[in-house]
């Protein structure tokens, strides 16, 4: 603690001044000075009240008293001479620029981004003598403004960060005051005011929470003021919990701004698929009143997982932002229960085992149809004595097909029961996200008349080139586990129970090679396909948005009952089928890798996917493919190395993508390939940021008003007050004027002289 008494410049920036000893608290110094002043005043009062003394005597008492008090004070304060080298340091100021996508909306002759960049330049000039940190806000914590954050395709110029898909000023303010760095003396926010947080209600409380009690003025610079002429899908909302096969309410808010005339605006909702054209799920007409309309539509989605919906608005003429008439939303569809259609060509032990397992799964809702009687069977009874019902093939495969999550065709001949005519629809069902399992037997695969049908194209094994008389091989064999099978999460539980060996199967359906992209988990030990490879016995495939499984044997029941099964208590059958159905339903337990979008996707700007291997214990190459939904056109392929032990994910930059839905699939290369993991996502031009293009100047003004800042137009940046500079000492030397005993001695002598003077003047 030092109180400046005198300050003066001393050569080369070194300043000299007097100060009391540094070991004295400030309060004590003040108390001493106050006591001395009081003492002097009492002395004067005493002289006035006792009167009738010579002027010389009074002067002697007064001077000696003052001297004694002064020396007494210096004895306590022990003055020192301080030599200091100091500099003036400009105040710390944070300039927080809006890094969101709404900055790319038009404003006047340019864009809001251009006005923001001009404002930043003006602020640079205004704060030239201050220490300014330039940050951007958008999603999460504030990020440095001048360092490209995500890739080379980031915009150039002062705002060199990729536009964010949100405008979270709240999180940015929190990161500034919570950080370990120096607290700024002022924050300048440059924005259009269309913020996600803080919202318009209870703004002051939100600001207080964001700033954590730190008093810092927030000045605002509004870069947009005009409401554009625009018809927009302001919001598209769907219930948090969307359940497959059950209708959900989609609420669409439509708005018209900037004086655009709107009345009845038609809109449609589509569901996107990987290789199939979009399917319309709902439509309606929004009746705009006072610039706004809300429309509720009922949408039923049948496939679980992440589904992409496209909402399209027919905007009137004069709309200046057509990009916000089309929105893509990702809907996370959950399953109440997995709905399965189990169709079996005849009752066998294999059918029995599968049915028992399916019915024991409380999460599965099974609709089963078994062919119990063929046309050649002699039932020896009238029809009304039978408990048999007609197989409703037409009804099942037309009206109800989409209500099932997966279809299991077990040893079922397509021809005699009229399924052949529905195979086109069944193949389309798979491509649109349905699951299919074909289980072997005398009436399956080629023997079941599926060769050269549309369904054959969505099976993971080929059926071409196999003569009818060799469609089934009755020789007993034990399937071999392929390298891909050993490394697949699909067989992990089964192999954990049975080890390397599998029971001998009573023959197999003969199939051709696995299709491109299919994964063979089990193979025949002796039968070969045309290429010379082992014939697939269990194969997994991805077709469009759906998946299919081919199991060419009808002996999986031997994993449930029999001498082989007994060692594992019959649990191996359940382990296999749980995995097959789980994989079919995209259960995360059976996905070898995880793919996710990093920070959303803005059409036209670089997007990043993050990849992580979740199965296996060795580093592995991952092959990523990104394809457009609808036509399946591949837009990007990339290979990266994934390390299961590394906590970080691998990032793959996709470059700029056009608006629309995309399917990313990643396949791990274990030497034998792996079933792909898949991730659907959408890219929008503006997204939420353009859904409401109106600037919100009032919000910026309110933020400034609540924090003691000012709100200005970019042209008035000069009116923003600059905080005063700070003084920083870089060198300091202290010299005592006298040693402490010298001051004490002087005070004692002065007190003695004063006592003598008082006695001579007749005072006590």
């Amino acid at each position: 603690m030092s109180l400046p008494i005198v300050a003066s410049a001393v050569g080369s920036g070194l300043e000299e001044r007097w100060a009391p000893s540094s070991d004295l608290p400030h309060a004590l110094v003040l108390a001493v000075l106050a006591a001395a002043t009081l003492g002097l005043a009492l002395l004067v009062l005493e002289l006035v009240r006792t009167g009738r003394r010579t002027r010389v005597a009074v002067s002697l008492v007064l001077v000696s008293g003052a001297a004694a008090l002064a020396l007494l004070v210096t004895a306590v304060l022990r003055p020192v001479r301080v030599h200091e080298r100091a500099t003036e340091l400009g105040a710390s100021v944070v300039v927080l620029a809006d890094g969101s996508r709404s900055m790319d909306l038009r404003e006047g002759d340019g864009t809001r981004r251009q006005r923001l960049e001009a404002a930043l330049t003006a602020l640079d000039a205004r704060f030239a003598k201050l220490r300014t940190r330039r940050l951007a806000f958008g999603r999460g914590a504030a990020v440095p403004l001048d360092v490209p954050s995500r890739g080379a395709s980031s915009p150039k110029g002062p705002l060199a960060v990729l536009p964010a898909t949100s405008s979270d000023l709240h999180a940015a303010l929190e990161s500034i005051v919570d950080g370990s760095g120096e607290l700024p003396r002022a924050i300048v926010v440059v924005s259009d005011g269309r913020l996600d947080r803080p919202g318009p209600s209870e703004l002051e409380a939100q600001l207080r929470a964001a700033l954590g009690g730190v008093a810092v003025p927030i000045h605002t610079v509004y870069v947009a003021t005009d409401d554009p002429r625009d018809a927009t899908l302001r919001s598209v909302r769907i219930a948090d919990a969307v359940v497959a096969h059950q209708p959900s309410t989609l609420t669409v808010e439509v708005a018209c701004t900037g004086g655009l005339e709107c009345d009845k605006l038609p809109l449609r909702v589509y569901e996107l698929f990987s290789d199939e054209p979009p399917v319309e799920r709902a439509s309606g007409v929004a009746h705009v009143d006072s610039g706004r309309a809300e429309l509720t539509l009922e949408v039923t989605l049948d496939r679980a997982g992440k589904r992409i919906l496209e909402v399209e608005l027919d905007a009137p003429v004069g709309d200046t932002i057509p990009e916000n008439n089309r929105r893509f939303i990702t809907v996370d569809v959950a399953r109440d229960r997995v709905r399965l259609l189990h169709v079996a060509g005849r009752p066998t032990y294999d059918v029995r085992a599968l049915r028992s397992w399916l019915k024991s799964d409380v999460s599965a809702d099974v609709v089963a149809f078994f062919i119990l009687r063929t046309r050649t069977d002699d039932v020896a009874a009238a029809q009304d004595e039978l408990a048999l019902i007609p197989f409703p093939v037409d009804e099942l495969f037309t009206r109800h097909l989409q209500s099932f999550d997966a279809v299991i065709l077990q040893d079922f001949d397509a021809e005699p029961y009229g399924l052949s005519v529905h195979l086109v629809r069944l193949a389309e069902y798979v491509r649109q996200g349905g699951g299919l399992i074909m289980v072997g037997g005398p009436n399956a695969f080629v023997a079941g008349n599926y060769a050269s049908t549309p369904l054959a194209k969505v099976l993971p094994v080929g059926l071409e080139g196999i003569a009818a008389d060799r469609a089934v091989d009755l020789a007993s064999f034990a399937p071999t586990i392929t390298k891909a099978g050993r490394r697949s999460p699909v067989l992990e539980a089964l192999l954990g129970l049975v080890g390397e060996g599998l029971p001998a199967m009573p023959g197999t359906n003969v199939v051709a090679s696995a299709r491109d992209g299919a994964t063979v988990l089990l193979a025949h030990p002796t039968l070969r396909v045309a290429s010379g490879a082992a014939m697939p016995v269990l194969a997994l495939g991805e077709f469009g948005s759906g998946r299919s499984v081919a199991l060419t044997v009808d002996g999986s029941h031997l994993l449930q009952f029999g001498t082989f099964a007994a060692d594992a208590g019959g649990r191996a059958h359940g382990a296999l089928w749980d995995a097959l159905l789980g994989w079919l339903m995209r259960d995360a337990r059976f996905e070898p890798a995880v793919v996710e979008l990093d920070g959303g996707c803005i059409a036209g700007l670089s997007a990043t996917l993050r990849l992580r291997a979740v199965f296996g214990d060795e580093p592995v190459d991952a092959h990523l493919t990104v394809a457009s939904m609808g036509n399946g056109a591949i837009v990007r392929t990339e290979s990266v190395r994934l390390d299961p032990d590394a906590p970080a994910t691998a990032a793959v930059r996709l470059g700029a993508l056009a608006p629309g839905g995309y399917t990313a699939t990643v396949r791990l290369d274990h030497g034998g390939g792996s079933a792909p993991s898949r991730y659907d996502f959408a890219c929008e031009v503006g997204g939420d940021e353009w859904a409401d293009p109106r600037p919100d100047v009032e919000r910026l003004r309110a933020i400034s008003a609540h924090t003691g800042g000012v709100s200005v137009d970019p042209a008035d940046v000069r009116s923003i007050p600059t905080p005063s500079a700070s003084r920083v000492v870089s060198e300091r030397r202290v010299e005592p004027l006298l040693p402490p005993w010298g001051w004490t001695l002087g005070a004692a002598v002065a007190l003695g002289a004063h006592w003598i003077a008082r006695r001579k003047a007749g005072l006590a």
């Binding site: 066998t348 049915r355 028992s356 039932v379 009304d384 039978l386 019902i389």
Partner: protein
């Protein structure tokens, strides 16, 4: 055919098992082994297939420890046992079999099942349990988790099914004659279909149809 202790099935009824298989193949789409074989309760071969018939005319000998273990493992894996009384008037085998099976599954006891049970509509719509005699209209069953593990037939079903070379039935069926024999065949087919399809005909999708057909028959 399940064998326990030292007893074997009488020669004339051995043909019943082949007849049973043949009727299943002739009447339904289900495959079946046309030459059924015998298996001992204490043999590892017991768990080769999940359906076994146990029949007798006298009280069975007490199950040995090995036989008990074999049957416990069989039921643990989900096997189904059909127990047939060949001397319904005496009923000693059925009573003894129940007592022995109580040692295998001490926590479960038999219950009577009639036409409301899925066994009576797994292929044919049946109103009562048939056999060589018509002692009782119902079967009994030991049920776990809604699934019958053991079915008890009190009416000598094998006696009604037995057919020797030349198509001669060695046992007369009373009191219903050949019509009753046909009903016994149908019950045998239903039991086989129950083993293969479990409670398939209990599925909700079949319910309205079967209720309507039952109503029409009444």
């Amino acid at each position: 055919m399940l064998l326990t202790g030292t007893r074997e099935l009488d020669t004339r009824r051995k043909s019943a098992l082949a007849r049973w298989s043949a009727e299943v193949v002739r009447r339904t789409s289900a495959p079946s082994v046309l030459a059924p074989r015998s298996v001992r309760a204490d043999s590892p071969a017991l768990i080769a297939e999940p359906f076994v018939v146990w029949a007798g005319a006298q009280a069975p000998e007490a199950l040995t420890e090995r036989e008990l273990l074999g049957l416990k493992r069989y039921f643990g894996l989900g096997g189904v046992l059909f127990v047939d009384e060949l001397e319904p008037d005496a009923g000693a085998f059925l009573a003894g079999a129940k007592a022995e099976l109580a040692r295998v599954m001490p926590d479960l006891s038999p219950i009577a099942i009639g036409e409301e049970n899925v066994v009576f509509r797994s292929f044919y719509l049946l109103r009562r349990a048939a056999g060589r005699v018509a002692k009782a209209p119902k079967l009994e069953a030991i049920v776990r988790g809604g699934v019958a593990l053991v079915l008890f037939s009190p009416n000598d079903l094998l006696g009604a099914l037995a057919r020797e070379a030349g198509g001669v039935h060695p046992f007369e069926v009373v009191p219903g004659g050949e019509a009753q024999r046909e009903q016994a065949c149908r019950l045998a087919v239903n039991v086989a279909m129950y083993v293969l399809c479990s409670n398939y005909k209990d599925d909700q999708v079949h319910a309205p149809f079967l209720m309507r057909r039952r109503g029409e028959k009444k």
